[in-house]
């Protein structure tokens, strides 16, 4: 894949603000438009941006963890929000909230809903990353078997190489 300077520079410029926007959507989602799904999608879109600029090599060097780790970790976080209360004798997905007064930021709260949303976002990011991992490599995976036309479709085989 040829690198384009314009795309490269634009990507670098947009990347931090896009990530910040994703974080904003994730953190404020409980009260304002946003949430884990859309936050994860925007963060996933930044992966697409890096990919467009520099291919899978750049994506892998920028994101230090493997996609399946993000995916599994996200589900584990979300699932533990649902199940840990059971072990403590409370109903499934019981709510809890931690309020604190942080310097500079003022009032901040961490709730079970936020942790759950973080898990959701991680699964979404992981899924998008997985798609790039599957199809993003420069050399398309070679097909062992020939691509056969569907029976009855009357189409000729579509193999190009």
């Amino acid at each position: 894949m040829k690198r384009s300077v314009i795309v490269d520079v634009t990507a670098r410029l947009i990347l931090p603000s896009a990530l910040l926007f994703a974080l904003h959507l994730l953190l404020s989602g409980h009260d304002r438009p946003g949430g884990g799904f859309v936050g994860g999608l925007v963060a996933g879109a930044t992966i697409a941006l890096i990919f467009v600029a520099g291919g899978m090599d750049d994506v892998r060097s920028v994101v230090p963890v493997r996609p399946w780790t993000i995916l599994g970790g996200g589900l584990a976080v979300a699932a533990s929000v649902a199940t840990v209360p059971i072990l403590l004798g409370n109903p499934v997905m019981d709510n809890w909230k931690l309020s604190m007064d942080l310097p500079l930021l003022g009032d901040a709260k961490i709730s079970s809903a936020l942790v759950f949303d973080i898990g959701v976002a991680a699964v979404v990011i992981g899924t998008i990353f997985m798609v790039f991992e599957a199809f993003g490599d420069e050399e398309p995976p070679e097909f062992r078997g020939e691509v056969r036309p569907a029976p009855g479709s009357g189409q000729r085989p579509e193999v190009e190489s």
Binding site: N95, A113, V124, A134, R144, G152, G154, R156
Partner: protein, 785 residues
């Protein structure tokens, strides 16, 4: 009891993990849990015998009300004593039987786990816990039977047992769930004290009986038991005397008093049980391999036990519990005797054994073998006689059709039992006079379990009342829910049962003398196909069915898959909507004027997609549909949805581009008119369906919209002002959890599919080996190593 179960689990897993190090210490270690369990049984025995069942509850997930409920009544006590008592004998015996290696240690560990599962099964008070332990015994017996896993015959026999008992276990689960729902309780005791009625309960009960007959090797599901003889003899001795097959009998004993009033119950139990008893006996008397003789004898005795335990009336229940005890004692002993002979003489064939000389030093084993075989045959002075006498008396007392049919069946079966017991015992009292055929006698420690168990058999046979009288009475009384007195005794005076016993013994001796002509006569009537072959054919049929179905459904055409999926998912609900609701009028499209322009954009983009010749172009134009949708969301005041839709649409285009790199740039032209028409038809169905569905949904008018609850409760309940998000992560949080789990599976699936072309193709299911599981050469090779 919970501590005892945990001890079984801990020591069993410990032995498995440390098997290579433990070697000869595994067997003594394996005895520890059995000793602990026996000690526990003795401490609770006084209370249980006084009519106060022991109960315990261990709550492990308080939030979901998940707890392990255990109880031990009279029958539970009997089972604990048998499982742990015989388990102790097996552990002692294994020390001498196996060479001290890692495999032997592994067997010991599995046996400990198996004993634990069996103890859990007979003490479970919760229906699901009962099922859980039931399946555990199936899986552990699979491991035990397939212990010599490099041997195809052992693997085939283990699979056979697992598939049959495992399918039966599934039927049992279904049946238990139906019964528990009908009864409205998960408690075993409550379920049985107030049994549910009705059609559903009847179906549930039928499934439970299916589970029982597969587990207890009743015809026509018996064949796994003789096949399981490939296992080492100590394993066979344990599985087929006190445990595994007794699980079904245990459940039948529990169920019978509650369901005996159903019209179908007694005919079903009598038919299956008597058929099993007679057919198993007919197979047993023609065996030359002593272990196979015992295997078919076990099938026959299980039929007997099933008849008694399932009959449900008072004296049959008492006889059933007595035979449960007697059978465990004599069958374990006889298997152990065969193991000793096999270990010392390297053969189990009766002809070969008759040519050998079991000389000085073999005395005790030979005496025990003959006496215990006499107990199996039901000869007076032995425990088996007490049980059989009680059974005869029960059916004589019951009278009527059940009494007559039952009596004829069990007398016939007992004559056969007498004959094959004699065939077994004859090997031990007849001796060769060849001087050069001496066989080394077993050591005292090797024989000790046999001597102890035989002593018990004789003691119960001589004075049953002081030893097991109370136990049998309390066990039967707890089952029937009233006080009973079995009055077990060696001598009841001259009565019908005694006359029948004498006749049985005489006929049995006669049949034994005439075994060869009898076998020739019945040989012609034998079924043309044996159990393993039937199982093999059934399994291959299942594979073929799966293959044919798969190739029909999975044609490999992606367009066809998508068309079918969409038509079902959209067209189906649309049809239901049209049929069940009246469609409302269209809402005014101009309530938000910009909607009209957006709708035009969507329709135009959709139409344009069809006519764009290049794939990339089509994808970009298709994106117009999605962005138009996002615009509609904005127009209707749903910023959350719009945000998500924009992000999804963008990412979809990028993902398309990734895939399109591997496809030709242009669509291929097709001249296939019929195919085009089919695709147009599918598109029309989906398009019209989606329209109708959305219209129907918009027209529903619940008196209180679901959103009301969300709007009023969002802040007080979930402390969030974004209702969409509150619903996603709180109100319907479990749904979201399910959705992201699906997302994960889909992501893994996509990646796997994308990479699948890089791996060599897999071949189909390997066929089952063509073996004869009843070939003596394949049975228990451990004894001779």
């Amino acid at each position: 009891m919970i501590a005892t179960l945990s001890l079984h689990l801990a020591i069993g897993i410990g032995i498995l993990l440390a098997a290579p190090v433990l070697r000869r210490w595994a067997a003594p270690l394996a005895a520890v849990p059995s000793l602990a369990s026996l000690a526990f049984a003795l401490t609770i025995a006084p209370d249980v015998l006084d009519g106060e069942p022991w109960t315990a509850t261990f709550t492990w997930v308080p939030g979901l009300d998940l707890s392990v409920d255990l109880f031990v009544d009279g029958l539970g006590l009997v089972m604990i004593l048998l499982v742990s008592g015989i388990g102790l004998a097996i552990a002692a015996y294994s020390g001498s039987y196996f060479a001290p290696n890692a495999t032997a240690a592994r067997t010991a560990g599995l046996l400990v786990l198996f004993a634990g599962a069996m103890l859990g099964l007979v003490t479970a008070e919760h229906v699901v816990i009962l099922y859980l332990f039931w399946e555990l015994t199936s899986i552990l017996s699979w491991l035990l039977i397939g212990q010599r896993h490099t041997d195809p015959a052992a693997r085939a026999a283990a699979t056979h047992a697992l598939v049959l008992t495992g399918s039966g276990g599934l039927a049992l689960l279904g049946g238990l769930v139906i019964l528990a729902r009908e009864a409205g309780t998960w408690s075993v005791v409550e379920l049985l004290t107030d049994p549910p009625g009705g059609t559903a309960a009847g179906v549930g009960l039928g499934l439970v009986v299916l589970g029982i007959v597969t587990k207890s090797a009743q015809y026509p599901f018996h064949a796994w038991l003789p096949g399981a003889m490939v296992a080492p003899t100590p394993v066979s001795a344990y599985l087929h005397s006190a445990t595994m097959v007794k699980a079904g009998i245990y459940l039948a004993l529990r169920l019978a008093p509650a369901f005996v009033h159903l019209d179908a119950w007694q005919p079903v139990v009598l038919t299956i049980g008597l058929l099993t008893m007679v057919a198993g006996g007919l197979r047993a008397i023609r065996q030359d391999d002593l272990k196979l003789l015992l295997a078919f004898g076990t099938v026959s005795q299980l039929g007997f036990l099933f008849v008694l335990s399932g009959s449900g009336f008072e004296y049959a229940t008492i006889a059933g519990v007595t035979l449960l005890i007697a059978h465990a004692l004599f069958k374990a002993t006889l298997f152990l005797v065969v193991g000793i002979v096999d270990h010392q003489a390297h053969t189990r064939d009766r002809h070969e054994l008759l040519d050998l000389r079991l000389g000085t030093g073999w005395g005790p084993v030979r005496v025990c073998a003959v006496l215990t075989a006499a107990s199996m045959a039901g000869v007076p002075l032995m425990a088996g006689f007490i049980a059989k006498e009680e059974a005869y008396a029960a059916f004589v007392y019951e009278g009527g059709a059940v009494g007559v049919i039952g009596l004829v069946g069990i007398v016939t079966g007992s004559v056969l039992t007498m004959a094959y017991s004699l065939r077994f015992a004859a090997v031990f009292w007849r001796q060769s006079d060849r001087d050069d055929a001496d066989v080394t006698p077993p050591s005292w420690t090797f024989g000790a379990p046999v001597y102890v168990l035989t002593a018990l058999t004789i003691a119960i046979g001589l004075v049953p009342a002081p030893i097991i009288g109370d136990l049998v009475d309390v066990a039967s009384g707890d089952l029937l829910g009233r006080e009973v007195a079995g009055e077990l005794a060696l001598w009841h005076g001259i009565n019908t049962a005694l006359v029948l016993s004498v006749l049985t013994i005489a006929a049995g001796v006669l049949l034994w003398r005439l075994t060869d002509p009898f076998v020739r006569l019945t040989g012609r009537a034998a079924p043309p196909i044996d159990g393993y072959r039937a199982f093999q054919i059934g399994l291959e049929g299942l594979f073929t069915l799966a293959r044919v179905t798969t190739t029909r459904i999975q044609t490999g055409s992606l367009p066809r898959y998508i068309a079918i999926i969409l038509m079902v998912v959209v067209g189906g609900p649309a049809l239901v909507a049209v049929a069940t609701t009246s469609l409302p009028d269209l809402a005014d499209p101009l309530d938000v004027p910009v909607q009209l322009a957006l709708a035009g954009l969507i329709a135009g983009a959709a139409l344009a997609t069809i006519f764009v010749p290049r794939r990339l172009g089509a994808v970009v134009v298709l994106g117009g549909v999605g962005y138009g949708m996002a615009g509609l969301f904005v127009a209707q005041g749903a910023p959350d949805l719009a945000l998500t839709q924009f992000a999804i649409e963008t990412l979809t285009i990028v993902a398309f581009v990734l895939v399109l790199r591997q496809l030709p740039a242009r669509f291929s032209r097709s001249d296939d008119r019929a195919g085009q028409l089919r695709r147009m038809g599918a598109a029309a169905v989906v398009g019209v369906g989606a329209f109708v569905l959305v219209l129907a949904v918009s027209g529903t008018d619940p008196t209180t919209p679901a959103s009301d609850l969300a709007v009023t409760q969002a802040v007080p309940e979930a402390e969030g002002r974004n209702i969409v998000n509150v619903i996603l992560v709180d109100f319907r949080g479990l749904d979201t959890l399910g959705e992201i789990a699906v997302l994960l599976v889909a992501a893994v699936g996509v990646t796997t599919l994308a990479r699948v072309g890089r791996r060599p193709p897999r071949t189909g299911v390997p066929p089952l080996p063509e073996i004869d599981p009843l070939d003596p050469a394949t049975i228990d090779k451990d004894a001779r190593t």
